[in-house]
């Protein structure tokens, strides 16, 4: 096996091995557990840096292992997987630090961090999956690894939320499995390739391909929270804040969106799917989900629920971008994978800080939190403005490229209004929060958690939102710099349309 | 097949079926064990009939071997079933007695 086969495997192991060791650790070994977590996260980050460099140089990274005749387990790194791998690796590091602070003194931490590591392992594996079969394996593994995290608190509410989550995702997994097996019997091994593989295979029945597309997208749409499959997401917010951050920004929702992108670009091929006529319905559904999520977010008083509906809406930008033919829309959709992740994780960190420090769970309780917790609220503000699409925060660029792409493809007539309406709705549900937080007099908090730290809350809770908010601004400001997400996505787009 | 052989075989098959039906009915334990044994006897009769190769000729040894083995197995199985049944009775009686004592 060459070095190039080892690197994807090592990236996988760098979180798997610490995770497995953490499971066996006693509850009281906090230092060792923290050390293992951080060593794993940092090692992974370094390995991913190597991977980015290698993929930029167009080196081939592939690990192949035969599980059964005709079914290969393939890890493969291309530009698209690197985008997702680096996003989840970076955000995992930040989320781990946040989770260590958030769960201080709470029980069952070995179990929590063990599954936390397994979860990121599954995400990274999913990003590097080289064919649909491997993708399905990691997609299901992700479901299994996140279930104990959602159920972590063990309250009846948490267990119910987790059960609903599992019900939705397993049903989705079954649909995905069916589609994948069917396609495998028709079209062979299904190794992902830029530009798609189905267009080159003669003699495929277009009707069967349309049905399979429906099955695949329905399976993936559950995790991507496409309407009407989004029901689990608002209910899963019973999970602890770091888990919500993980679900919404790093792993689960992103895995679904990433899968849709993979299927459209690297299995069907965007041009071939256009010929099949499957893109238009998916695009319309995505557009509807964008509006629907925003409208539902408006009426939520529970902060995490409002953020959850906001995720429903924002993630569909990625699917929307994938359905519009042309490099510019591709750029807009894919770059939102990163941008939405960075901004949404900031929002969830901030929401967790409010809940943990002040006991504030509802928007109506947020009066004046800005004065009590200025740093957290500043981070929240930056991310919220980014979500609305205000330059120079990252979110603006996604919408800009989506709009340009739609115009280029001649779909501007319906995409641009959707984008504008969504921005207006985003403003309508975020600005009142900001107004309350900064300008209304501070009310009595439900629970003032008197910490003996000098800052507004524990440092391990305060730093992560600051870092991710700064990242959201940096990514936007230096969008044109080499190796910025935007530049990288342009690389993907040029390779896809080559 | 000669007529006598056929008669034996048919009788054996009939006994086998009767025994099986009786064994499947929810009867007393002893009844079921006996029924299963009778069913076995029917089967052995059938096998012995199959072994017949005509007057003044040695019978086919293999069905006989089967029958011998089958008889041994049937005895052992009946013994085990009765042993379990006795243990069951003891357990039930003692638990009845305990209930009787406490009340």
């Amino acid at each position: 096996m060459s070095t190039n086969a080892w690197l994807p495997l090592l990236i996988l192991w760098s979180s798997l091995v610490p995770g497995l060791i953490i499971f066996s650790l006693d509850e009281s070994r906090q230092r060792l557990r923290t050390a293992l977590n951080l060593i794993g996260a940092i090692t992974k980050l370094l390995l991913v840096a190597g991977l980015i460099w290698g993929v930029y140089r167009e080196l081939l990274f592939e690990f192949r292992w035969t599980l059964a005749p005709g079914l290969d387990f393939v890890l493969h790194a291309d530009a698209l997987s690197v985008l997702f791998v680096s996003l989840s690796t970076l955000l995992w590091l930040v989320t781990t630090i946040y989770a260590i602070g958030y769960l201080e003194h709470s029980p069952d931490r070995s179990r929590f961090f063990g599954f936390f590591s397994l979860c990121v392992t599954a995400t990274v594996g999913l990003a590097m999956a080289g064919n649909l079969f491997t993708f399905v394996i990691f997609y299901e593994a992700l479901t299994l690894a996140t279930y104990p995290l959602v159920a972590h608190k063990g309250t009846p509410e948490a267990i119910r939320g987790a059960r609903i989550y599992l019900g939705y995702t397993l049903a989705g997994g079954v649909l995905l499995l069916t589609g994948a097996v069917w396609l495998r019997t028709l079209a062979g091994p299904l190794d992902f390739a830029q530009g798609g593989i189905l267009g080159d295979i003669p003699g495929l029945d277009p009707d069967a391909l349309r049905w399979i597309f429906l099955l695949l997208v329905a399976g993936l749409g559950v995790k991507a929270a496409l309407f009407p499959l989004h029901g689990w997401l608002p209910r899963a917010m019973v999970a602890p804040a770091p888990v919500s951050a993980l679900l919404h920004a790093v792993a689960v929702v992103k895995a679904g969106a990433f899968g849709i992108v993979r299927v459209v670009y690297d299995v069907y091929g965007v041009e071939f799917s256009g010929e099949l006529g499957v893109l238009m319905p998916l695009g319309a559904l995505a557009a509807f989900t964008i509006i629907y999520g925003s409208v539902r977010a408006l009426s939520q008083d529970h902060l995490k629920k409002r953020l959850a509906y906001s995720t429903v809406s924002q993630v569909s930008y990625i699917a929307l971008g994938a359905t519009i033919l042309g490099p510019l829309a591709t750029i807009g959709g894919l770059v939102h994978l990163v941008h939405q992740g960075v901004m949404k994780i900031t929002l969830f960190f901030a929401a967790g800080n409010y809940a943990e420090t002040l006991g504030v769970h509802r928007v109506s309780e947020m009066n004046g939190v800005g004065r009590r917790m200025p740093v957290t609220t500043a981070a929240f503000t930056v991310a919220a403005l980014g979500m609305i699409g205000l330059p120079p925060v990252a979110g603006f660029f996604s919408k800009w490229y989506l709009g340009l792409g739609a115009l280029e493809a001649g779909a501007g007539a319906w995409v641009i209004p959707v984008l504008l309406a969504s921005s207006a709705l985003n403003a309508a549900y975020f600005l009142p929060i900001l107004y309350r937080a900064w300008f209304l007099p501070a009310g009595p908090w439900p629970l003032e958690n008197h910490t003996h730290h000098r800052g507004e809350t524990r440092p391990s809770l305060q730093w992560p939102p600051m870092v991710t908010a700064a990242l959201a601004v940096l990514v936007g400001t230096f969008a044109a710099a080499p190796f910025s997400p935007l530049e990288w996505v342009e690389l993907i787009a040029t390779r896809e349309y080559r | 097949m000669e007529q006598a052989q056929l008669m034996f075989a048919a009788t054996g098959a009939l006994i086998f079926v009767f025994g099986l039906v009786a064994g499947l009915r929810d009867d007393s334990l002893l009844g079921r064990i006996i029924a299963i044994n009778i069913s076995g006897v029917g089967l052995f009769l059938l096998l012995v009939a199959l072994a017949y190769r005509g007057l003044c000729q040695a019978a086919d040894p293999i069905p006989h071997a089967l029958v011998l083995t089958g008889i041994v197995v049937a005895v052992a199985a009946s013994g085990l079933a009765i042993a379990i049944g006795r243990k069951l009775d003891e357990l039930r009686n003692s638990s009845h007695r305990r209930e009787g004592d406490s009340s």
Binding site: - | P63, G85, S95
Partner: protein, 486 residues
């Protein structure tokens, strides 16, 4: 390497005798014997690729009169499954039965059951198979009574014994018909002889119905839930993982090797249909079960159903790679279910010993107290549901794909529904275990790790081992496909 066959077939019998004569040494003897058996089985399986099948005539008597031992890949893999499960459950039983008196009674029967299992897998003669079947039924029923303190357990054991006897009688009747028609009972000789005739059909039906009682195919399943759920945990593990599996193995032999001219596609579809009913009905009953062991027993019922669903699919496929793929998947599913179910029963046994009950609604807090066991149960559950990365996932993928290829997509629907139902009953258990402790429960002692480890070992093996290293199963099969030997 035919001496390997002799070793595997006779070592359990000798161990049974030794444990009977020297009860105090039973613990050590059993441990050593199960290890030797495991090593021998691994050697046997590694030996398989170099030749199509192994055989040995005991005492130099030729097949027909003497007893011949033989192993092809199908038998070889099941021998390995038996040895693995036997090894783990022997380790487990040592700690499960704290009372040494119970262990004195256990070991001879335990090894008697093992010798029946191995002899059955290695025999190539319909009448020897009858003897091993009887031995299997008797020793299994006797094992159910070890340490039994409840009348229900004994009743279930008795019922199991009597139904087993009826099954064996039916089988023997089938054997008699085969002998009357073809004049031999040697499997390899019969392979070329059997042709389609009313007598063949009658003997096929008798043989199959006898064996179907033993592997609890719906509608002959009614004895299984009670028997498997009331036996002691190590015994339940062996019953569910191995005893029903070897009866199924015999059926496979009959349908795919001996009676191929007689088995029509309508017959195969009927079998598949019964399997499909078992899948759905078993999963549904498992979902509604209130006790963990009952859940596991019903889950066995539904998992056996998947194996039967493979039959019409494999029958419909043309000989060659696609058929090989499905046949290998069938074998893989049987092996992976055996390992996972043994792990599940052992995990449940640990829970039961620790909590004093196995009611699902009262599991609260056990995830915190017995994390190793709960982890083992979850992993075993993953393998039972057929989620990746388990071996059962590969098998289910193959099942779905083969059902599409053979144009029988309805089996796919059953598989999918069954998978979701299986996930549902698993989640019920995990949800209950994750819930906080009920206040009224007394404080519990911590469970010994030695009791928890064997379950974890098997669960990891079923999930990751078979998931990532299952391709040898297909490799050995493709060298000597049983269908092609004809």
């Amino acid at each position: 390497m035919s001496s390997l066959l002799v070793l595997i077939a006779t070592l359990p019998l000798m161990t049974a005798l030794a444990c009977l004569l020297h009860p105090r040494g039973g613990d050590q003897l059993s441990l050593v014997a199960s290890m030797i058996q495991l090593v021998a089985s691994v050697l046997l399986v590694t030996e398989l690729p170099s030749r199509s099948s192994l055989s040995h005539a005991l005492g130099g008597w030729a097949p027909g009169l003497g007893i011949a031992l033989g192993a092809d890949p199908l038998a070889g893999w099941l021998v390995l499954l038996c040895a693995l499960v036997q090894f783990a459950t022997t380790l487990y039983a040592r700690f499960y039965f704290c009372d040494s008196q119970a262990r004195y009674r256990l070991w001879p029967l335990w090894w008697l059951l093992a010798s029946a299992l191995y002899a059955l897998l290695l025999s190539g003669d319909l009448f020897n198979l009858y003897v091993t079947l009887e031995l299997l039924g008797l020793s299994a029923a006797a094992l159910c009574t070890v340490g039994a303190a409840k009348a229900e357990a004994l009743e279930a054991a008795l019922r199991y014994l009597l139904l087993g006897l009826i099954g064996s009688l039916l089988y023997l009747a089938g054997v008699a018909l085969v002998y009357a028609e073809y004049g031999t009972l040697d499997v390899s000789a019969l392979r070329t002889l059997i042709s389609s005739s009313p007598a063949s059909l009658a003997s096929l039906v008798l043989l199959s119905s006898g064996l179907m009682i033993k592997c609890a195919l719906v509608p002959l399943h009614f004895w299984l839930p009670a028997a498997h759920s009331s036996a002691p945990a190590p015994v339940s593990a062996v019953l569910s993982a191995l005893v029903v599996k070897v009866a199924f193995y015999l059926l496979l032999r009959l349908w795919f090797e001996l009676f191929t001219p007689v088995v029509t596609s309508a017959f195969a579809t009927l079998i598949g249909l019964l399997g499909a009913i078992a899948v759905i009905w078993g999963s549904w009953q498992a979902f509604r079960a209130t006790r963990l062991k009952l859940l596991a027993a019903y889950s066995t019922l539904s998992q056996m159903g998947y194996l039967f669903m493979f039959v019409p699919i494999v029958m419909a496929l043309p000989e060659g790679d696609t058929r090989q793929f499905a046949y290998g998947a069938l074998l893989l599913l049987a092996v992976s279910h055996g390992i996972a179910k043994a792990a599940l029963f052992m995990g449940i046994g640990s829970l039961q010993q620790h909590l004093g009950h196995d009611e699902i609604d009262r599991l609260g807090g056990s995830a915190r107290k017995l994390p190793v066991t709960l982890f083992a149960i979850s992993l075993a559950g993953v393998a039972l549901v057929g989620l990746p990365p388990s071996g059962a996932f590969l098998a289910k993928w193959a099942l779905i794909s083969s059902s599409l290829v053979s144009g029988q997509w309805w089996w796919m629907l059953v598989t999918l529904v069954g998978t979701l139902l299986a996930a549902a009953y698993l989640v019920r258990v995990l949800g209950a275990a994750f819930a906080p402790t009920a206040a009224a429960e007394p404080a519990l002692p911590t469970c010994r790790l030695a009791l928890q480890q064997p379950a974890l070992l098997l669960a990891v093996l079923a999930t990751f081992g078979l998931g990532f290293a299952a391709s040898p199963v297909w490799d050995t099969l493709s060298l000597s496909p049983p269908e092609v030997q004809r």
